[in-house]
Each structure stands twice: as structure tokens, then as C-alpha cells.
């Protein structure tokens, strides 16, 4: 059974990987998932959680997974925007948890956008 005390253990590990990096700042890679009604109905929740899992698994410390509202491209939901500092924003469409894993691997960790998921 998970207890709140377990958090303390996670905390000490996370603190080590965080080093002195502060939460705020433009040096972070931003993964932004569309969470309007259209996005949610299309599966955005699982996509967002898949990105969280991928970032945790790869122990990436410079990534923020966050959300945005509907951007009037509802038929392409779930939509995910990835912004790497100093590079142009990449918009992925019709995302799934599986596709998220590949984006983590190749784009977030590897630096190469996955062109087949880009509209």
C-alpha cells in the first residue's frame, strides 16, 4: 500500500536529479497537450500521462508537461505542441500514448522531431 511517507523517498531521489535547476525559466523543453473538451474526448488525458511517464522513465529534468485549451483544430486532437528552447515549435496531431513514447525517445531525448506525426 502506498503511503504519504513514500513521498519522502521519492523526494530525495528527485532532488538529486534536479541539481540546482529551478522550476521556472525558458531553458525548459515544453510539452503542451490540448485539453479542451475535444482533446479530452479524443484521448488527451492518456497522452499527457504517457508523456509524464516517459519523462520520468528517462529521468529528464529539463522538461515540463503542461496543457492548453482548444485551438480550433478539433479534428486533429489530441494535439501536442513541443517547444525546445531556441528551436521552432513542433505540432503533433492525432496523438496516442504509443506515439508519445516515440516522441519522448526521438524528439525530447534525441532532438529529432518525429516527422510522421506532424501535420
Amino acid at each position: 500500500m502506498k503511503t504519504l511517507e513514500e513521498l519522502l523517498a521519492i523526494k530525495s531521489v528527485t532532488k538529486k536529479t534536479m541539481l540546482v535547476r529551478e522550476d521556472i525559466g525558458d531553458d525548459k523543453i515544453k510539452i503542451v497537450v490540448g485539453m479542451g473538451t475535444c482533446g479530452i474526448a479524443a484521448g488527451a488525458r492518456d497522452v499527457l500521462n504517457a508523456f509524464v511517464d516517459g519523462v520520468a522513465e528517462k529521468e529528464l529534468t529539463n522538461v515540463a508537461v503542461t496543457q492548453m485549451g482548444c485551438i480550433d483544430m478539433c479534428k486533429y486532437e489530441p494535439i501536442v505542441e513541443v517547444t525546445v528552447p531556441g528551436k521552432e515549435k513542433v505540432t503533433y496531431v492525432n496523438m496516442t500514448a504509443e506515439k508519445a513514447a516515440k516522441v519522448i525517445e526521438e524528439h525530447i531525448a534525441g532532438g529529432e522531431p518525429v516527422s510522421e506525426y506532424i501535420k
Binding site: 500500500m1 502506498k2 504519504l4 513514500e6 513521498l7 519522502l8 521519492i10 523526494k11 531521489v13 528527485t14 532532488k15 534536479m18 522550476d23 497537450v33 485539453m35 479542451g36 473538451t37 479530452i40 474526448a41 488525458r45 492518456d46 499527457l48 500521462n49 509524464v52 511517464d53 519523462v55 520520468a56 529528464l60 522538461v63 515540463a64 508537461v65 503542461t66 496543457q67 485549451g69 482548444c70 485551438i71 480550433d72 478539433c74
Partner: protein
């Protein structure tokens, strides 16, 4: 929406858009009355009486990107299709309360689903908003509060992937327990 926890996510997104700093999600299931009550309370900017009337209309939205707003109508429909009820109260400048009661023995009742995934997604995307989940099934209750988590995690942001993952598992296990689920300890 496939499951109620997705409707709940959609409704809480409204609270976040309304600049709430605290959102409480309360589920109360009564296995004798066969009812599930879902209440979302926020301290966001609320709605005027006029906006409140329009909120139930799918062809109204406070947003500007498109002309429809389906979140509230879909949730209302989900409850009413089970023979349940829906109500919304709001005070301009104070906050909004939405309650839906579902008849769980209706064929149209869809399962709550992965509420843990709903809460973890909300926490990851909105680390500066506090979320409370109160889930009770008959006499058992589970309460989750991000303010308590933040106190424990201190300088580590609650949106750190490790913490978010932990929150997801923590809620899943405790909610399963409400329904008499097997815990890790009992397994070993």
C-alpha cells in the same frame, strides 16, 4: 466521453479556466440507493446569472476559439440519461458548484473509470492549482489533497514526473480499496 472521469476532467478544466486556486472533486457512492453523486466545487471567478443560464446550452461558450461549449451539456446529459439529476450554482466572483447524481443501476450508467489518471493529469498541467479529491463508497472514505502533498514534497514541484506518477498510483490504490480491492500488503 468513454467514462465519467473524462467528463469530470472536462468540468474541472472549466474551473481551471475560471482561475480557481482550489478545486474540490467529491464522489459519493451509495450501494443501497444505487446512486453516485459527483460534485465539483471551485473558487474561480464564477458566472453571472445570464452566463449560468447559457452554460447548459451547447451552442454557448465563454471561449473565443470556436462557437460551441460542450463540457457542461455532455456531463448533464450523462447524468440525466441514467435517470439522475444535474444542477449548477454559481456566484459571480466567488466560484461555481456543479452536482450530478447518477443512477448506478441504469443501463446508461458509464463507469467512473480512471479517476487517478484524471487527477494526475490535472496536477501535472496545473501545479499552482490545488485539488482535493473526496471519494466515499458507503462508509469508506478516501481524501486526497495536493496541499498535503506539497507540504511533504516541499521544494520539489508537485508537477515533477516522479511525484505525478506517485500520485496516480496512490489514488488508484486507495480508490480500489474503497471497493474492497486487494492491497499490496495483502498480496504478499
Amino acid at each position: 466521453m468513454r467514462e465519467l472521469s473524462l467528463n469530470i476532467l472536462d468540468i474541472v478544466e472549466n474551473s481551471v479556466s475560471a482561475e480557481a486556486s482550489l478545486v474540490s472533486i467529491e464522489l459519493t457512492e451509495d450501494s443501497h440507493l444505487n446512486t453516485l453523486s459527483v460534485t465539483v466545487i471551485d473558487n474561480g471567478k464564477g458566472m453571472t446569472q445570464e452566463e449560468l443560464l447559457k452554460a447548459k446550452d451547447p451552442f454557448y461558450t465563454s471561449g473565443t476559439t470556436r462557437r460551441v461549449g460542450m463540457g457542461i451539456p455532455l456531463f448533464k446529459m450523462a447524468a440525466e440519461q441514467t435517470g439522475g439529476t444535474f444542477s449548477i450554482h454559481s456566484v459571480d466572483g466567488k466560484g461555481t458548484l456543479i452536482n450530478a447524481i447518477f443512477k448506478t443501476d441504469s443501463l446508461n450508467f458509464k463507469p467512473v473509470g480512471d479517476l487517478h489518471a484524471t487527477v494526475s493529469a490535472l496536477v501535472s498541467a496545473n501545479p499552482y492549482v490545488d485539488f482535493v479529491l473526496k471519494y466515499s463508497v458507503d462508509n469508506n472514505e478516501f481524501v486526497f489533497d495536493t496541499r498535503e502533498i506539497k507540504q511533504k514534497s516541499e521544494e520539489i514541484p508537485v508537477s515533477s514526473p516522479d511525484i505525478v506518477k506517485w500520485i496516480r498510483d496512490f489514488i488508484e490504490q486507495n480508490v480500489n480499496n474503497l471497493y474492497g480491492g486487494v492491497t499490496d500488503n495483502e498480496n504478499t
